[in-house]
């Protein structure tokens, strides 16, 4: 069976781009998080949409599971082959197809990386930028959009799925479809005014199709950029502070963070506020607006802005910042688990306290924080736990902390983000049964042979 599968895949993509060897089966069986390994039978790397289609048709014929994968950096094991089958590594499809500077969108292939688009825009369209997540630059745009990621323009533009303008998708049955304006006009400017079929593929953990192209919104790139850090000691103040800062509508990104390291940061709640402007005068105006919005706290001497020397400011303006990846080596162990939960902003104090309690209970190195989505419409609160990959007990501690965090997030009223398979079950348990029944019905229509990333979003 496996030999036949490999041979037939080789006929589609060429023998150099398919493997059933032990090395690939091992490495693709896990991601850098704590989820247990689940090995595929084969890994395949298509070069274009037609090859993706052929691979899916073959998987249907052979009733073999198929798992789409971008950079494999989700940390929650969504690209593991839970029931074996084929992992489709999309990174050969990494072309930037189009940039429309007037209507400010880019069309990219399903394996195109965040870093490549950033570099491309800087060279060819320096007046434009896209929202980069905090993930390393090799992370793919399709992967991040499909998990409802967020990034350094998320106060301005919402989550990355909000910045999606359309998709080309190969359905589990092999048909190639388009969503959004590109399905009618050939241009990729918006998802409206049509029925929003993009929602069939975002947040589904790869169970409804493989995204081969997508359109994303671009934003003005400013000549002058700055970051302010507002510091408070009382977590209960944070929702109102966030509300006031976002009400100015000048920030591009707001990321509260709480960490015991560096030592000067311990015990304080920080909010990084990034903003930019075309002129220095405009930048000062925006800074004044932000400062005025929280003046009351400064006057009461219960919070204030952190003085930042220029070198430190530069570090905070680095996009993407390698600091997040460096957190993985905090315990000299190359691992960290990153649990995010989407939740209403008023739950900030509860989430913060829950994170501290879990870190203490499981004795894990932690970093807590959040990213504000939209003009204070919600937030992605994250709990990051570093662990030592070489220490099985430490991995277990991080894994247990992860599970406890998911429970805590759900209890608070949040929803775990890019939830790993066990957390998906926790969510389903709390989900309106009719909602889950609809999800099941949709999938049975799209994927009658149940080949797409099975094991995810299942009871």
């Amino acid at each position: 069976m496996t030999t036949d599968l490999i041979n037939r895949l080789a006929k589609i993509v060429g023998p150099g781009f398919v493997s059933g060897e032990a090395e690939e089966r091992y490495l693709y069986s896990m991601d850098p998080g704590t989820m247990p390994a689940a090995a595929p039978d084969a890994v395949v790397m298509p070069a274009n949409t037609e090859e993706v289609q052929q691979v899916i048709l073959l998987a249907n014929e052979l009733k073999v599971p198929i798992v789409p994968m971008g950079a494999g950096l989700v940390l929650s094991g969504l690209t593991r082959a839970l029931r074996g089958g084929i992992i489709v590594d999309m990174k050969r499809m990494n072309h930037i197809i189009e940039v429309n500077p007037q209507s400010r969108y880019a069309v990219v292939e399903g394996g195109a990386s965040q870093g490549m688009l950033k570099s491309y825009l800087k060279k060819h369209h320096p007046q434009l930028k896209h929202s980069m997540p905090d993930a390393p630059p090799i992370a793919t745009m399709a992967g991040n959009v499909c998990i409802h990621g967020s990034g350094h323009l998320s106060v301005l533009g919402g989550s990355h799925s909000d910045m999606l303008t359309g998709m080309e998708v190969v359905l589990p049955s092999g048909e190639i479809i388009r969503t959004g304006s590109c399905s009618v006009s050939g241009e990729w400017f918006a998802r409206s005014p049509l029925p929003d079929l993009s929602g069939l593929f975002v947040g589904w953990a790869g169970t409804t199709g493989i995204v081969t192209r997508l359109g994303i919104k671009l934003f003005p790139s400013y000549k002058h950029n700055d970051v302010l850090i507002f510091v408070a000691e009382d977590a209960d103040l944070m929702p109102e502070i966030i509300s006031r800062l976002t009400s100015t509508q000048v920030a591009e990104d707001m990321t509260p963070w709480m960490s015991p390291k560096p030592a000067w940061a311990k015990g304080f709640l920080h909010i990084n506020i990034a903003y930019g402007a075309h002129t220095k005068k405009e930048l000062i105006f925006k800074r004044n607006l932000l400062q005025a919005s929280v003046r009351e706290y400064i006057d009461q001497k219960i919070a204030g802005f952190l003085p930042l020397p220029p070198p430190q400011k530069g570090r905070f303006l680095e996009i993407p910042s390698p600091d997040l990846a460096r957190f993985a080596d905090l315990r000299k162990g190359g691992g960290f688990e990153y649990v995010g939960a989407l939740m209403a902003i008023e739950h900030f104090p509860q989430a913060y306290r829950a994170g501290l309690a879990i870190a203490e209970k499981f004795n894990v190195s932690y970093s807590l924080g959040s990213r504000i989505i939209g003009a204070g419409h919600c937030m992605m609160f994250f709990f990051a736990y570093a662990f030592n990959r070489a220490d099985a007990e430490d991995v277990k501690r991080a894994s247990d902390a992860l599970e406890a965090t998911n429970e805590a997030a759900l209890k608070i009223g949040g929803i775990p983000w890019k939830a790993e398979e066990p957390a998906q079950k926790q969510i389903i348990d709390k989900m309106d049964p009719n909602t889950f029944a609809l999800m099941d019905r949709i999938r049975s229509v799209l994927d009658p042979n149940q080949i797409m990333n099975p094991g995810n979003w299942e009871k």
Binding site: Y26, V43, D89, S113, P137, A139, A325, F336, R389
Partner: protein, 384 residues
């Protein structure tokens, strides 16, 4: 295995796959094969898995390990300070462990066997290592200021020999005092060491050091950046203490003494940073200084330059073993396309291996009418 205690610390974040400006994939092996296994992070995890007996020492695993071109892009761009300094050391230790386990790709075995038997990978007699001179009048080393050290490619490969002759002619024109050794030098051993064959490297180096010390050599000019790296960084620990320069580092300061023709052809030139001169020895300027001082030359930069340069794919012994050859996305082929995109008419190189690799790539890409690969000394000499 040496350095095994760091293997698990790799997070596989992927910074190592890219240059600092993220423009495209910059790891030659990952670029050619595209499986995660061929990336630096993949190698780290596979080595750990092998030591933990989760995978075996297969042909595939050996190919993955020996496909590393040791270009140093991963060391340059890994997000973890200090840890990154040991990345290539860990890969080399992994290759050494595979050699000990007897699992070596056939071309690697053949390369090492030839060097063991003949002192060079061409299987030629060391006694004939002066044939590259081809009538040039060059003094044997006696009491000159410098020894000119020619690597295997410059000594035995026809294109490398052309480059060696070109550099010799230019050094003479610039009035540099140097002599050569024609019948006693073995391979510099740089790529042997990168392949993990430490004992063979030490044997080669000690033989060379014996000859060099006997002749009381103090200063060495190398043709190849690979030789520069070995002689400058590895020979001292084995008793070979010399002042070592790549020829561009000597020539850069002698350019003012050269006179050029009044009718120099205009040319847009992109300079390809060799990994063992650039990332390994942090000299990004000597060759550029030379090119900037040549009349008629307009220097253009490729997207990936200096510490972000894309390797030609010939390092780590791949020049001889060819593990990275084949396919449209070999780093040499990508590199010549990048040079054309930068508007260059000439792709300047400062390493005989890069010259051969990139010339082959120009042919494979059918870009002969768009771009020419020339060694820096050839560009200078064309304009006398």
């Amino acid at each position: 295995m040496e350095h095994e205690e760091i293997l698990h610390r790799c997070f596989r974040c992927g910074y190592c796959k890219l240059p600092g400006n993220y423009v495209d994939i910059n790891c030659p092996a990952y670029l050619a094969f595209r499986f995660e296994t061929y990336s630096p992070g993949g190698r780290m995890w596979l080595l750990r898995a092998w030591l933990d007996e989760k995978i075996s020492a297969s042909e595939r695993f050996a190919e993955i390990m020996f496909s590393c071109a040791t270009c140093g892009n991963c060391v340059e761009h890994c997000a973890f300070p200090e840890f990154r300094d040991r990345l290539l050391l860990a890969f080399t230790a992994g290759k050494e462990a595979l050699l000990d386990a007897g699992q070596v790709p056939a071309p690697v075995r053949d390369y090492l066997t030839k060097i063991q038997l003949h002192g060079n990978p061409y299987g030629k007699s060391v006694k004939k290592s002066g044939q590259w001179l081809d009538g040039l009048d060059v003094a044997l080393f006696s009491d000159q200021e410098h020894l000119f050290f020619i690597d295997d490619v410059g000594t035995y490969d026809p294109r490398g020999q052309e480059i060696a002759r070109s550099v010799v002619t230019l050094l003479q024109k610039a009035g540099i005092s140097f002599g050569i050794i024609t019948d006693a030098m073995n391979s510099d051993g740089n790529d042997v060491k990168a392949m993990g064959e430490t004992a063979l490297f030490e044997d080669l180096a000690e033989k060379n050091i014996k000859v060099l010390n006997k002749l009381n050599v103090k200063k060495i000019i190398t043709l190849s950046p690979h030789s520069l790296n070995a002689l400058k960084n590895d020979y001292p620990a084995l008793g070979g203490q010399y002042q070592v320069f790549h020829y561009t580092q000597v020539l850069a300061f002698a350019m003012a003494g050269l006179t050029f023709s009044d009718k120099e052809p205009e040319a847009k030139i992109a300079y390809h940073d060799p990994c063992y001169l650039g990332r390994h020895n942090t000299d990004y300027e000597s060759a550029r200084m030379i090119l900037r001082s040549v009349p008629g030359v307009t220097l253009v930069e490729m997207d990936r330059n200096r510490n972000n340069a894309l390797c030609c794919g010939g390092g780590g012994g791949n020049f001889f073993t060819d593990i990275l050859s084949g396919g449209d996305e070999t780093s040499a082929r990508v590199r010549v396309r990048e040079a054309v995109d930068a508007g260059a008419e000439i792709l300047a190189v400062a390493c005989p291996m890069c010259a051969v690799m990139l010339e082959d790539a120009v042919k494979a890409e059918n870009l002969d009418d768009r771009i020419q690969v020339l060694e820096v000394s050839e560009i200078v000499r064309q304009r006398f």
